[in-house]
């Protein structure tokens, strides 16, 4: 046990997605995630209904929807925090049970405040060491996210935006080929958002798939290669911005207009 990907990938006949985080960038290109008819019901209320989509390696996929549309339910079901009422998750052609999803994807949930009494340095070093990432990678991510001045601060002392950047750092230090970020720009100001978008783009260009749940539509427009529009638990649109514009007949419409047209 504790295989962390390798034997399972052999069984799946796919390239081991990680193991040594320093070499994952060259290995992740073949990992695709497919979600098939995922539903989640709370009593009589369907938080998610028949959600189906797939990711492509190295793309930034945005999950867009208003508050209460089921975004968090979807990402938590995909990551294995919540158990769906029905539906399956595939990597390649193989169905992946919840306990093995950590081998392929890593979720940074929204609203968590882990290890509040530890310093940023302690937490990031811990995550990097636990995932066998290098000191160089840690240093690079710290610089990319401008975390250097915060390294000796306790997490409980950080502002919302600072804390969000640390959570992004945690996500970027993990080696899984698919990184799921729930509300990655929440709490960031305009400049920080722009910088983080640039960082995420660089990581996606390295081959890592980013699956972002976002409720700010302008941010989603700027960063996402493809968009999933979610409303009342159902996926109402799936495509690139031009494709969605074409589908809705809104030639140069903004995402907000497209979303309104589809819901």
């Amino acid at each position: 046990m504790g295989s962390y990907g390798r034997p399972y990938c052999r069984q799946l006949d796919v390239v081991p997605p990680f193991g040594d985080a320093r070499v994952i960038i060259s290995r992740v290109h073949e990992i695709t995630l497919r979600v098939d008819n995922l539903s989640r019901r709370h009593g009589a209320f369907w938080a998610l209904r028949d959600a189906s989509f797939a990711t492509s390696p190295g793309e930034i996929l945005g999950l867009i929807g208003p508050n209460g549309s089921g975004k968090t339910t979807l990402v938590e079901c995909v990551a294995g925090i919540q158990s769906p009422t029905s539906g399956k998750i595939f990597v390649g052609e193989k169905e992946i049970p919840p306990e093995r999803r950590k081998e392929f994807l890593y979720l940074v949930p929204d609203g968590i405040r882990p290890w509040p009494d530890q310093t940023v340095m302690t937490v990031l070093r811990f995550i990097a060491a636990l995932h066998r990432n290098s000191a160089n990678a840690l240093e690079r991510i710290v610089q990319e996210l401008a975390l250097t001045p915060l390294m000796h601060s306790r997490l409980v002392e950080l502002s919302k935006g600072e804390h969000r950047r640390v959570m992004l750092g945690i996500g970027l230090l993990t080696p899984q080929p698919i990184l799921v970020l729930d509300e990655p720009f929440d709490g960031l100001d305009f400049r920080q958002t722009r910088d983080v978008i640039a960082v995420l783009r660089r990581h996606a260009q390295g081959g890592r798939t980013l699956f972002l749940s976002i409720h700010q539509l302008p941010d989603a427009e700027r960063i996402c290669d493809r968009l999933l529009l979610l409303n009342a638990g159902r996926i109402v649109g799936d495509g690139t911005l031009p494709q969605l514009q074409q589908t809705t007949g809104l030639g140069s419409g903004m995402l907000e207009d497209i979303f309104m047209a589809l819901t």
Partner: protein
Amino acid sequence: MARFFRELRLLIVMDVRELLATRAYWLMLLAVSALVGQAFLSAVEFYAEASGAGGGPAALSQGLSPLEGILVPTFGAYDLAATLLFPFVVIRLIAHERQNGALWLQLQAPPIFGVTMASKGLALLLAWFVAMLPGCSALLLWHNIGGHLYPPETLGLLLGYVLRGVSAIGFCAAAAAFSTSAASAAVIALTFTIGTWALDYFAAARGGVLAVIATYTPLAALRTFERGEIQLATIGILAVVGMSGLALATTAAPSGRTLNIRMLRSTAALGAAILLCVLAARIRTSADVSENRRNSFSRTDEVTLANIGAPLSVDVFLAAEDPRLNDLERGILAKLRRVVPHLTIRYPAAGRSGLFQSAGDHYGEVWYESGGRRLMSRSTIEEVVLETVYQVTGATPPPPDNAPTYPGYPLRAHSTFAPWLFFLAWPLLIAGAWIGSRRQRVQRVG
């Protein structure tokens, strides 16, 4: 394997950091220091008085055992800590991580979650060892003022308190994992503690199966070690409780499995734990590590009893709350169980009330039967019972044991250093370590 230990070390270091950030732990250390100090000072004072200090009459020196007079009262502070303080430290570590999201981030890390929980268990055990340092310093102090320590019984007592900590870790970890909040887990832990007290109470009155189960409540298990007896069954059960608690905490983790599957796995883990406890309870191997051999017959009697080949059965017609049963149980039957190979003890009147119900005409009798011979005795005196056993089994009574008797260790001494150690040095050291660990964490650059 190297990777496993590397990951385990990383997790333990982080868990220890989290523990050091927990106010509850530092407060527990401060409280333990004061409790141990007070208990030690009182024990030394009473021991000196019993030894004839202050002009009072001295007790017989054979009755002055440091295990009973000093060690047990001093370490009694740890029973209080394990019951009322340490559970909150355990719950804080596990429930807090669940609430703040750290648990979920660790669930996605390479080590299987069982390793994550094991690391928490080991970090908490380390914390418990550290908490036992004031108690150990009391032992050194006792030795320093001329007190006698018998290593086997001292180590046996320390083992008992380590296992008490292990069982508290296991139970509280499970309570924290099954609860949605730390407060709920604390309520469960306290309910369990009160439940074990109630079990002890009812078992004392009703006997039977309840009495057997009550033998392994944390309090009763500790009493075994405090008597200077080490029972493999008790060690096994306390260890199983500790480990199965961590296993239950693992199976209950929110790992994406459906609630039904988690409940099924938890039930299986609980079933396995109960089975292991039942199996462990059947182990009869035990050792009397007390210097005064309070849990044993004389060596010559033990050799004779151990060579009784025929089955021996004992029917005790005494109610559970009858003090004669307590005398017989502690003074005779527990010792017989340790040495007679084929022994069966039955309590036909254990579920009755000795005051208001009778067990027919036999109430108060103890029947001994072996090889078709039956003898009755009402005595709870060791010499009389042994004579009856030898008669009924046909064994030849051994000659008197000429081994030197327990000399006893009277000591009329006071420790002037103890108040400074427990009420000043330890608190200052703990407060200094607390502030130091906090300062290390809160430095902010720029």
